[in-house]
C-alpha cells in the first residue's frame, strides 16, 4: 500500500511502452521551421493571395510612381489631338499608348493618376470608417447590456439609411471635393466594421470567462491574449479590404454622377462619365478606365478572400 492508502496498480493488463523519447531531442522537432517561416509559407502558399497581392502591388506602385513613370501630364489639354485611339488600333500610335480623351489629354497618364485617386479615397475612407466602426463595435461587444442595445440601435439606424442617396445629398449641398468624398464615405461606411468587431469582441469576452473558470492554469492570460488579439485583428483586416473595395466603387459612382471628384482631376469614374458622349464611336474611352476599376477592385477582393482563407482556423497548424 502506498502512502495514500491505495493499492498500487497491478502490473496492469498492459505495460507502458518503454523508452518514451524526449520531444526536445526529437530530430523532427529540431528541424521544424520557425514560426516566422511557417507564417510566411502560409501567406505565400495561398495562390489567391499571391496573385491578388501582385496585382494590387503593381497598381499601388503605378499610383505612387505615376509622376515618374507617366508619359505625359494628366491635365495638359491638346484640343487638336482629341480622341486619338489607343496604340492597338490602326489610327493609334505608341506616343499615346492608351490614346487621348475628349480634351486631348494622354489617357495612359490619366489612368495612372486615376489610380492615385481611387487608392487614396478607398484607403482613407476605409481607415476613417474602420476607426469609427471598430470603436463602436468593440464598445458594444465589451460592455454589453444597455450600451450594446444603444449601439446596436445606432447600427440598425445607419443600416436603414440609403447610403448613396445620403452621400449624394451631402456632397451636393456642401460642395463636391475629394476631401469631402473621403469624409462622407468614412462617416457612412462603418457598419460592417461595427458588426464584425462587436461579435468578435463578444466571442473574446466569453473566452475570458472560460479561461477564468478553468483555474487549472491551462490558459494563462497571455495565451488568451494571443488567442483573442489575432482573431480580432484578422477580422478587422479582412473587413477592411472589402470596405476599401466598396469605397472605391462608391467613389467611382459618385464621380460618375458628377458629385464626387471634380474635373479636371483624373478619377476613373469621372473619366467614364466624360467618355459617355463618345460611346458609339470611341468606346475605348469608357472601356479602359472601367477595366482599370474592375481589376483594382477584383484584386482587393481577392486579397480579402485570400486573407480569409489564410486566417481560417482550418489552415492553422
Amino acid at each position: 500500500m502506498d502512502h495514500n492508502g491505495k493499492t498500487a496498480p497491478t502490473p496492469g493488463p498492459f505495460a507502458l511502452p518503454r523508452g518514451t523519447s524526449d520531444p526536445r531531442l526529437d530530430p523532427a522537432v529540431l528541424l521544424a521551421p520557425s514560426p516566422f517561416a511557417k507564417t510566411a509559407r502560409r501567406f505565400l502558399g495561398n495562390s489567391t493571395f499571391l496573385i491578388a497581392g501582385t496585382i494590387f502591388g503593381l497598381i499601388v506602385l503605378m499610383a505612387l510612381l505615376a509622376p515618374v513613370l507617366a508619359p505625359g501630364d494628366p491635365y495638359v489639354q491638346n484640343l487638336g489631338n482629341r480622341l486619338v485611339p489607343p496604340a492597338w488600333y490602326d489610327a493609334g500610335s505608341w506616343a499615346h499608348a492608351f490614346g487621348t480623351d475628349g480634351m486631348g489629354r494622354d489617357y495612359l497618364t490619366r489612368v495612372m493618376y486615376g489610380a492615385q485617386v481611387s487608392l487614396m479615397i478607398g484607403v482613407s475612407s476605409a481607415l476613417i470608417s474602420g476607426i469609427i466602426g471598430s470603436l463602436l463595435g468593440v464598445t458594444a461587444g465589451y460592455f454589453g447590456g444597455r450600451v450594446d442595445m444603444a449601439i446596436s440601435f445606432i447600427i440598425t439606424t445607419r443600416l436603414s439609411l440609403p447610403v448613396i442617396l445620403v452621400a449624394l445629398a451631402i456632397v451636393a449641398f456642401v460642395g463636391a471635393s475629394l476631401t469631402l468624398v473621403i469624409v462622407v464615405l468614412g462617416l457612412l461606411l462603418w457598419d460592417r466594421y461595427a458588426v464584425v468587431m462587436r461579435s468578435a469582441t463578444m466571442q473574446a469576452r466569453s473566452m475570458d470567462y472560460v479561461a477564468a473558470a478553468s483555474a487549472i492554469g491551462a490558459s494563462t492570460p497571455r495565451l488568451v491574449f494571443s488567442e483573442i488579439m489575432p482573431n480580432i485583428v484578422n477580422n478587422l483586416i479582412i473587413v477592411a479590404t472589402f470596405e476599401v473595395a466598396n469605397a472605391i466603387l462608391l467613389e467611382a459612382a459618385l464621380s460618375f454622377l458628377g458629385l464626387g471628384v471634380q474635373p479636371p482631376t483624373p478619377s476613373w469614374g469621372l473619366m467614364i462619365a466624360e467618355g459617355r458622349d463618345y460611346l458609339l464611336f470611341d468606346p475605348w474611352v469608357i472601356v479602359i478606365p472601367g477595366l482599370a476599376l474592375s481589376i483594382l477592385v477584383l484584386s482587393v477582393n481577392m486579397l480579402g478572400d485570400g486573407l480569409r482563407d489564410i486566417s481560417a482556423p482550418e489552415n492553422r497548424n
Binding site: K6, P9, P11, P13, F14, L16, P17
Partner: protein, 335 residues
C-alpha cells in the same frame, strides 16, 4: 433458420491523400430475427462505419466490399441505388447518435414521422398520422397527438431520441441498426431508452444491431457480442460466454475497466489500456493489438487467423489458445 442479416467479410476503405485507410477489415457476423447483436469497441475502431456500410450511407471517399451482404432474401451488395432507397427506412432502419441534430428543425415532428411512412407506402395521410400517434405513444411520449405539431427544438434530447425510434418503426422494419443511441443522453434516460428498445424488439420481433462503446449496455441488452478493434472483430460470442470467459486480451482489458460492485476492491485503481489505436493506413500485418498487449510474444507480428471455439459461433483472433487465455485470467485477476 437462416439469419435475418448476414454479413461476410465486409471491408470499408477510405481514400485519403496519405494512402488508403482500411477502416473495416473483413468482418463477418449475422443477426437473427428477435436477436440483439452488439458491436463494442472504442472510438475510431470502425463500428459506426460498419453500420453506415450496411445502409450504404458511407461518405463519398469510402468504398465498401463484401463477400456476402444479405438482408433476408435480398443481396444488399448488388441492389441498385433506387432499390436500396426502398429498403432504407422500410425494411432496415437506423437510429443515430445525435438526437439533437438528427431532426430537421424546419419541419414538425409529425411531418417528419409521416414522411417516413408515406415514402414507402401509398396510404392516405390520415393513416400515416394515426400510425405516428400510435408509435409515439408506444415509445412513451405522452399527449402524442399534440406533439405532432411541435418542432424538434421544442423537445428535449431524450424525447427526440424517442421520436427517432418511433420514426424507424413507422414502416415496421425487420432490422434496426442503432448507432450509439444513448451516448448523447443522460445516464438516467439511457436506461429508459434501452429498456424501450428491448421491449419494442420483443413486441415487433425485429433484429437489433446495437453499436456501442459501453459494456454496461451490452450486459443489459445483448444476446451476442462482437468486440471490434482497429477495424476487425477480435472476438465474437454470446454475451454470457464473453463476459465470463473472454478469450482475447482486448476484450479482457475492456472488462477490467469496469468496476464491479462487490468484486473490485475499494480504493484500487481501475484497469486501463494504455497506448493508442494504431494507424490503419497502408499495408497492415500482424495483430493490430500487439503494441498494447501484455501477452505479446513471437508470432504476433504475423497475421492471425480467426479461430473458432465450439460451433455456436464463438470466434476470436489471438495467437493464444483458449486454455492459455483462461490461465492468463487466473494469473492476473484482481488486485
Amino acid at each position: 433458420m437462416s439469419a435475418l442479416l448476414e454479413v461476410e467479410n465486409l471491408t470499408v476503405d477510405i481514400r485519403l491523400a496519405a494512402g488508403v485507410l482500411h477502416a473495416v477489415r473483413g468482418i463477418s457476423f449475422s443477426v437473427a430475427t428477435g436477436e440483439t447483436v452488439c458491436i463494442v469497441g472504442e472510438s475510431g475502431c470502425g463500428k459506426s462505419l460498419t453500420s453506415l456500410a450496411l445502409m450504404n450511407l458511407l461518405p463519398k471517399r469510402a468504398v465498401r466490399n463484401a463477400d456476402r451482404l444479405r438482408l433476408d432474401d435480398t443481396d444488399l451488395s448488388t441492389v441498385s441505388t433506387r432499390q436500396m432507397a426502398r429498403i432504407r427506412g422500410n425494411r432496415m432502419a437506423m437510429i443515430f447518435q445525435e438526437p439533437m441534430t438528427s431532426l430537421n428543425p424546419a419541419y414538425t415532428i409529425g411531418n417528419q414521422l409521416e414522411e417516413a411512412l408515406l415514402q414507402h407506402r401509398a396510404v392516405p395521410r390520415r393513416e400515416a398520422r394515426d400510425r405516428a400517434v400510435y408509435l409515439l405513444e408506444k415509445v412513451g411520449i405522452s399527449a402524442a397527438a399534440s406533439r405532432l405539431g411541435q418542432y424538434p427544438h421544442q423537445l428535449s434530447g431524450g424525447l427526440r431520441q424517442r421520436v427517432m425510434i418511433a420514426m424507424t418503426l413507422m414502416c415496421g422494419p425487420d432490422l434496426i441498426i442503432a448507432d450509439e443511441p444513448t451516448t448523447a443522453l443522460d445516464v438516467t434516460i439511457q436506461a429508459q431508452i434501452l429498456h424501450l428498445l428491448a421491449d419494442l424488439q420483443k413486441e415487433f420481433q425485429m433484429g437489433l444491431l446495437l453499436i456501442t462503446h459501453d459494456l454496461g449496455i451490452v450486459a443489459r441488452v445483448a444476446d451476442r457480442v462482437c468486440t471490434m478493434y482497429a477495424g476487425q472483430f477480435v472476438e465474437q460470442g454470446s454475451v454470457k460466454e464473453i463476459f465470463r470467459n473472454p478469450l482475447h486480451p482486448y476484450t479482457r482489458g475492456l472488462l477490467e475497466c469496469i468496476p464491479v460492485p462487490g468484486k473490485t476492491p475499494r480504493g484500487s485503481y481501475l484497469g486501463s489500456i494504455p497506448g493508442m489505436v494504431p494507424s490503419l493506413i497502408g499495408n497492415l500485418e500482424g495483430c493490430s493489438f500487439r503494441d498494447r498487449c501484455r501477452f505479446v510474444r513471437e508470432g504476433c507480428e504475423q497475421d492471425i487467423a480467426l479461430k473458432r471455439v465450439g460451433d455456436a459461433g464463438r470466434t476470436y483472433r489471438c495467437i493464444m489458445t483458449p486454455e492459455e487465455s483462461m490461465r492468463a485470467d487466473a494469473a492476473g485477476a484482481g488486485a
